[in-house]
Amino acid sequence: MDEQRRVRRERLRWHCRRALLELDIVFQRFWARDEELNEIDEAALEKLLAIEDHDLWSLVSGREEIDDPQLKSVVERLRRS
């Protein structure tokens, strides 16, 4: 992995440190699975991480749904965490 990509990955990983424990654990498990993340997934994850914590938890726990197909695919992977 090139340095630029590594830094982007690390930054994403840090942005997964959240205000709510529920999300911290979901993201911890997500990263621990070491899933293949292509650049489109990374961009989608970046967008999801910009969402406020309570709203993001509503999405991940399945209380809310999201329309955007890219984001939806990452949300579904998070739900499996």
């Binding site: 440190r17 709510l20 424990l21 406020e52």
Partner: protein
């Protein structure tokens, strides 16, 4: 080695509720203010606070700050300082109304006033009956509060350093605090923040426990920095626990689950609460249930490979009831315990929630330490507020909704005190001692170059398991004694961790190693302070200090009505008197704490 120096009037570490409130005070007074924070301000753990903020506004029914004060002293099991408690309760209305003016969207009554709801432990007329004192913004009070205060700071030109981690305090030979060293996570660069006022608002360190409701960012960075700089930590043996967090995760399972018929079972499948509370059984009070769970685990009847949890069983309930009456519980059990509670029981353990102790301060938010004849000499240039500080308003146990109040009142108070000092101080900053800057550089360099060291995650897990077993919700003399030795061993590992990733730029492994060095100081402080306190009081409950006629609830006012002060150096302990004299009213006299 020389580092870049950035100069401010004030530097605040932490951008949760207390840090943002302090920053407003300084920036709006025209002082150049920096706020250093590991995460974006509105992602601080204050977001998780849902219950509300206590203030005796009396919007829904008659209320008075003196009644609120009484409840807080009683809740603290008389370990809270009554001057600070009076100050907080009297300031509550002003602070809540200010927040309203900042744009906080409080729930409203039909008449347009701030709506208030009841909350456990808050009573009218000195403990007579419940009173509606909590002001909330739906179930997102903490979140709304942070947003309102962040916007206000942006308007006041507070300078935020986001994704920066503070490393160490800078103190000169006279003990005056002159700022902090901090690392820019983006570049790995270490910078000295040179300031006339330094305010710590770094939150709690709940992550020292295996089971904790705290988010991962709550690593007690301010406490670690203070301890390394020779500042004692006060009353660290007092931690508030909830009985049922999901084992291994910490996410809370509401008490309503037992209310709907949930049963706690040990490894033999026994409904063990029948032995501890034959009448109330699983519906006994929080303390009783937590103690029973811990006893089962300690006596070898816990479940799982480590025998370190018990089971909460609702599989006998009608699935329709679970879905209807306990929404969200099934999702939480599936997501965090990997079990469907309709078919299988949920693994649960008593779970750490809030840290009552912290960096010792007075009610002005100034950090105070023993010096000469005084037990509370002001450390010049140093302030602390919120969960990282110990004013002490929560004493041995905190009332719900008093945590958000604490951070508003003492965040403001610390900010105001800093403003007053800055107005009096000479124009030039005192020179920075190079040796103090080197302390941080040496620590980071040690982590970067360590060979054959300990693994960060394994060491963190060892710390968390040791704390949970040896200094959990119910404490035993022999386990505490053993715990002191064990946690010392863990500390040795925490100070010789090795990381694989050596890169400077955005290296989260290095950040985690640094966080562990802070956490472990809090863990040691907790264990040593708890071992030494030979009584039960509030959240500190010992098996060898039971409820007797002579000592109700095991509390020993004769010997232990005093604050603990733990020093990192040699784990030395000192004690100081509880302030029993309020500011303007009479002392709330000692009596048995019963609800």
């Amino acid at each position: 080695m020389s580092v870049t120096i950035r100069t401010f009037d004030a530097v605040i570490v932490g951008a949760g509720g207390a840090g943002l409130r302090a920053a407003i005070q300084l920036s709006e007074s025209g002082f150049k203010t920096a706020v250093i924070t590991k995460v974006f301000p509105t992602r601080s753990h204050t977001v998780a606070a849902q219950g509300g903020v206590a203030a005796s506004l009396g919007n829904s029914e008659e209320d008075h700050w003196h009644w609120h004060m009484y409840d807080t002293v009683k809740g603290s099991d008389w370990l809270g300082d009554q001057d600070a408690i009076e100050f907080m309760c009297r300031k509550a209305n002003e602070c809540v109304i200010e927040l309203e003016h900042y744009g906080m969207p409080f729930d409203r009554t039909d008449a347009g006033k701030i709506y208030q709801r009841p909350f456990g432990g808050h009573m009218s007329n000195f403990g007579e009956k419940p009173v509606r004192r909590s002001c909330a913004a739906a179930d997102r009070t903490g979140h709304a509060m942070l947003h309102a205060m962040y916007q206000r700071n942006v308007k006041a030109n507070t300078q935020f350093f986001v994704e920066w981690m503070a490393l160490d305090l800078i103190r000169d030979a006279e003990g005056e605090v002159l700022g902090v060293t901090a690392m820019d996570m983006e570049t790995g660069e270490i910078v000295a923040f040179h300031a006339k006022a330094t305010i710590f608002a770094t939150g709690g360190a709940g992550r020292i426990y295996y089971s904790s409701t705290n988010a991962f960012i709550n690593t007690g960075d301010g406490l670690g920095m203070a301890a390394r700089a020779g500042i004692p930590l006060e009353d660290m043996e007092f931690w508030q626990f909830h009985p049922t967090g999901v084992a291994g995760a910490g996410v809370l399972i509401t008490e309503g689950v037992r209310g709907e018929g949930g049963i706690l079972r040990n490894s033999q499948g026994e409904r063990f609460m029948e032995r501890y509370a034959p009448n109330a059984k699983d519906l006994a009070s929080r303390d009783v249930v937590s103690r029973a769970m811990t006893t089962e685990i300690n006596e070898g009847r816990g479940c799982g490979p480590h025998k370190d949890f018990v089971l909460l069983d609702i599989s006998h309930l009608d699935p329709a009831t679970i879905m209807k009456r306990l929404p969200g519980i099934r999702e939480i059990a599936i997501q965090f315990a990997g079990v469907d509670p309709i078919k299988e029981p949920i693994p649960v353990v008593p779970t750490a929630h809030y840290q009552m102790g912290g960096i010792p301060t007075n009610y002005f938010g100034q950090v105070v330490v023993p010096q000469g004849n005084s037990k509370a000499a002001v450390v010049p240039g140093f302030y602390a507020a919120g969960e990282c500080a110990c004013a002490s308003v929560h004493g041995a146990n905190r009332l719900g909704t008093n945590s958000l109040l604490d951070l508003l009142v003492f965040g403001k108070s610390a900010g105001e005190s800093a403003v007053e000092e800055l107005k009096k101080s000479p124009k030039a900053h005192k020179p920075l001692p190079q040796g103090e800057i080197d302390r941080a550089l040496t620590r980071v360099n040690r982590i970067d170059t360590q060979k054959g060291g300990a693994n960060v995650h394994e060491t963190q897990l060892a710390m968390r398991r040791t704390m949970q077993k040896h200094a959990g919700v119910f404490r035993f003399a022999d386990l505490l004694k053993e715990g002191v030795e064990k946690i010392e061993e863990v500390r040795k590992d925490a100070l010789r961790t090795e990381i694989a990733d050596k890169s400077k730029v955005f290296n989260t492994a290095r950040v985690e190693a640094l966080e562990l060095e802070n956490l472990v100081e809090v863990a040691v402080a907790t264990m040593v302070s708890a071992e030494a306190r030979k009584e039960s009081r509030g959240a500190h409950v010992r098996d060898d200090a039971p409820d007797t006629e002579q000592r109700p609830n095991g509390r020993d006012d004769e010997n232990w009505l005093k604050h603990t002060l733990w020093y990192k150096e040699d784990n030395r302990l000192d004690y100081k008197a509880v302030k029993l004299t309020p500011l303007s009213v009479e002392t709330i006299a000692l009596k048995k704490r019963a609800y």
